[in-house]
């Protein structure tokens, strides 16, 4: 790819300890994110998908250093931010923003919308009050809210409007990269489409780069340039968004896509559904070999013993599987 790499996560791991030495099983380690490497190019949207507990949100939080990573490196815009002190990180925070799933939980209920949006400006910029007021009005318009919304409180807004406020806060400082953690999951379908469109418009207008974390596959397909599929803390497949959906190489990706119910009765009968048995195993005690093998429809002896590594195949597709479906090795 010719485009500049804006963000790079190299061999990032995040471990949590659960329990204490007094609990029945003692202290245990959860490998929430397990040796993950991703690159995000300028101007693109990288989609991160997976089921609950696969570590996609943890990875997002590690990327913005809301969590301290256990191992690895994070390089943002040429600077290694993985070990920077909070003070040194501060100027970079303006360029690296995050939007959360539940907008009402991320907005202070006792402050007016104009103060919520002005907060990042007051902290990071040297604008005076008049300039801040002007900028807040600009931002409200950008995200499709009315000027007189500025003096209201968050409870006066609907879910979709609250998410617009969250987005306005994130773009206030002209960031380069925004990590969007399930930004439309809490919204109704009709409103979800509005926010997806808004994010696409802003990306075009402001030249933003997104890391889009979601469990809804059809939304991720719509917004992403490339998609990384995660399972139990690791990336199992990475590639071009439309390609992954038309030609999944990892059996997990294939099953995941086939399980999505499609609102089209003509296709509902003809689509081949692969129903996986069982649940996602606990990341405390992941299965041996390939983590997916107990649920995999094509697993063989080798998968129980040897963990497949991420290999790049033709067409820029990276897959961690011993027996990938229908892709040629280069």
């Amino acid at each position: 790819m010719s485009k500049k790499i804006l963000y790079e996560a190299k061999n990032v791991s995040k471990r949590f300890t659960v329990g204490s030495r007094f609990s029945a099983k003692g202290r245990l380690t959860v490998n929430a994110v397990d040796n993950v490497s991703i690159t995000i190019h300028e101007g693109e949207t990288l989609g991160l998908v997976g089921e609950s507990g696969c570590g996609k949100s943890t990875l997002g939080r590690c990327m913005t250093r809301l969590y301290e990573i256990s191992e690895g490196h994070l390089v943002f815009d040429g600077t290694d931010i993985s070990r920077l002190s909070m003070r040194a990180l501060r100027p970079l925070r303006a360029k690296l923003q995050m939007v959360f799933q539940d907008p009402s939980a991320s907005l202070n209920p006792r402050r007016r919308i104009r103060d919520l949006i002005a907060e990042p400006l007051r902290i990071h910029s040297k604008l005076n009050e008049a300039q801040i007021t002007k900028r807040v009005a600009e931002l409200l318009e950008l995200v499709g809210l009315l000027p007189d919304h500025a003096t209201r409180f968050q409870h006066e807004f609907s879910g979709g409007q609250r998410q617009r406020i969250g987005i306005a806060r994130a773009i206030a400082l002209n960031p380069k990269l925004i990590v969007l953690d399930e930004p439309v999951s809490a919204l109704d379908v009709s409103v979800q489409a509005q926010i997806v469109n808004l994010l696409a418009d802003l990306q075009e207008k402001l030249g933003l780069t997104y890391a889009f974390i979601a469990h809804d596959l059809s939304v991720v397909r719509q917004v992403s340039t490339r998609i990384a599929v995660m399972y139990l803390g690791s990336i199992v497949e990475l590639g071009n968004a439309e390609d992954i959906f038309s030609n999944p190489a990892h059996p997990y990706t294939q099953a995941l896509i086939s399980a999505v119910p499609v609102p089209d009765i003509n296709k509902a009968g003809s689509r081949k559904r692969i129903v996986l048995s069982g649940d996602v195993p606990s990341p405390i005690n992941p299965p041996s070999g390939c983590h997916f093998h107990p649920r995999c429809p094509v697993a063989q002896e080798r998968c129980k013993i040897e963990r497949p590594s991420l290999l790049t195949h033709s067409n820029n597709r990276t897959v961690a599987c011993h027996f990938p479906i229908d892709v040629r090795r280069d």
């Binding site: 469109n197 719509q222 959906f245 999505v260 119910p261 499609v262 609102p263 996602v280």
Partner: protein, 317 residues
């Protein structure tokens, strides 16, 4: 089997009366799966809670008629309702953790439900619980009955709740967003299970969801709700191939496709669902509707010919 006529549910709040359900009528025939779809606040859950007699809010006013196998349920005493609920009409909720008590094993909870409705020994009830868990594909059911809800995954908990709902072989099963809290791979398992059980037990199922995709997979007939009223209803085939109401059409259009070319922009519905506190006298969807015209200041009437829509475009005055 179930016949709801002109159901109205309103709640007295400090700000005034909120009409959550405004004149909803529908029937459920034996052995069919009726899908109820709508956005949050559209009244899909409240209307079915009313059927179950589970609206206990003293500020709620329920009007209209709900007939179950010819028997009127509105105004039925709590005692009589309890005999019916669980035995004849069972319900599955969205969050299995709130439907299960954390302090008893799932086997105990299923057995309790059976013994509340049938004269049966504790031992026999336990055996029934094991059989039911087997039926909903829980591995090692004989051991699983000794597990507490926190020891199960979300999908397993939902299976236990389904087992409980089926324990008395109900003729009507109301499932309120049973797969919304689950991952897609587990959702696929649960949908398969509901379909299989519906065949085996020949129960009628009312399946509430906000996901058009789930409806397309599971329902026989579909009812689309908007702002406490029925916007459109019809067989699944009619509704998906020829949606009549602009809301149904817009709802289908706003879902990003899983295959084929990606649209540059999604077709979204402007605005947000209306607040029920200040209802307009006209069509509730009109302010967001791309096809609205002069007539929409009046309230459209739902047609009655099998595939119905409450829209002046379909049913001009």
């Amino acid at each position: 089997m179930l016949s709801v006529r002109d159901l109205r549910v309103s709640f007295c709040t400090e700000q005034g009366m909120v009409q959550a359900i405004d004149g909803v009528s529908f029937d459920v025939a034996e052995g069919e799966i009726l899908g109820v779809v709508g956005e949050s606040g559209s009244g899909k859950t409240v209307s079915l809670l009313a059927v179950m007699g589970l609206i206990t809010d003293p500020n709620a006013v329920i009007e209209g008629s709900i007939k179950y196998q010819g028997r009127e349920l509105v105004g039925l005493s709590a005692k009589d309702m309890r005999k019916l609920r669980g035995r004849e009409i069972a319900m599955i909720f969205q969050d299995p953790m709130t439907a299960l008590t954390p302090v008893y094993t799932i086997g105990w909870q299923i057995a309790e439900q059976i013994r509340a409705h049938e004269k049966i020994s504790a031992k026999a009830a336990e055996q029934r619980a094991i059989d039911l868990l087997q039926e909903v594909n829980i591995p090692n059911p004989a051991e699983a009955i000794h597990l507490y809800p926190h020891q199960l995954s979300g999908g397993m908990r939902q299976r236990a709740v389904i087992a409980m709902a089926l324990s008395c072989n109900p003729s009507l099963l109301v499932a309120d967003e049973p797969t919304t809290a689950l991952d897609v791979t587990v959702q696929a398992q649960i949908l398969d299970l509901v379909r299989k059980l519906q065949k085996n037990y020949k129960s009628a199922v009312v399946f509430i969801t906000h996901d058009m995709g789930v409806i397309a997979e599971i329902a026989d007939r579909v009812m689309v709700m908007y702002a406490g009223r029925i916007a459109e209803r019809g067989s699944k085939r009619e509704l998906f191939s020829e949606p009549q109401h602009p809301y149904t059409q817009a709802l289908l259009d706003s879902i990003p496709p899983l295959e084929g070319k990606r649209p540059h922009r999604l077709k979204s519905i402007p605005g947000a669902p209306p607040a029920l506190l200040h209802r307009s006298t006209g069509c509730a969807f009109a302010p967001r509707c791309a096809k609205r015209f002069d007539a929409c200041v009046n309230m459209p009437i739902l047609t009655a010919n099998g595939h119905d829509a409450a829209c002046f475009k379909v049913n001009p005055i």
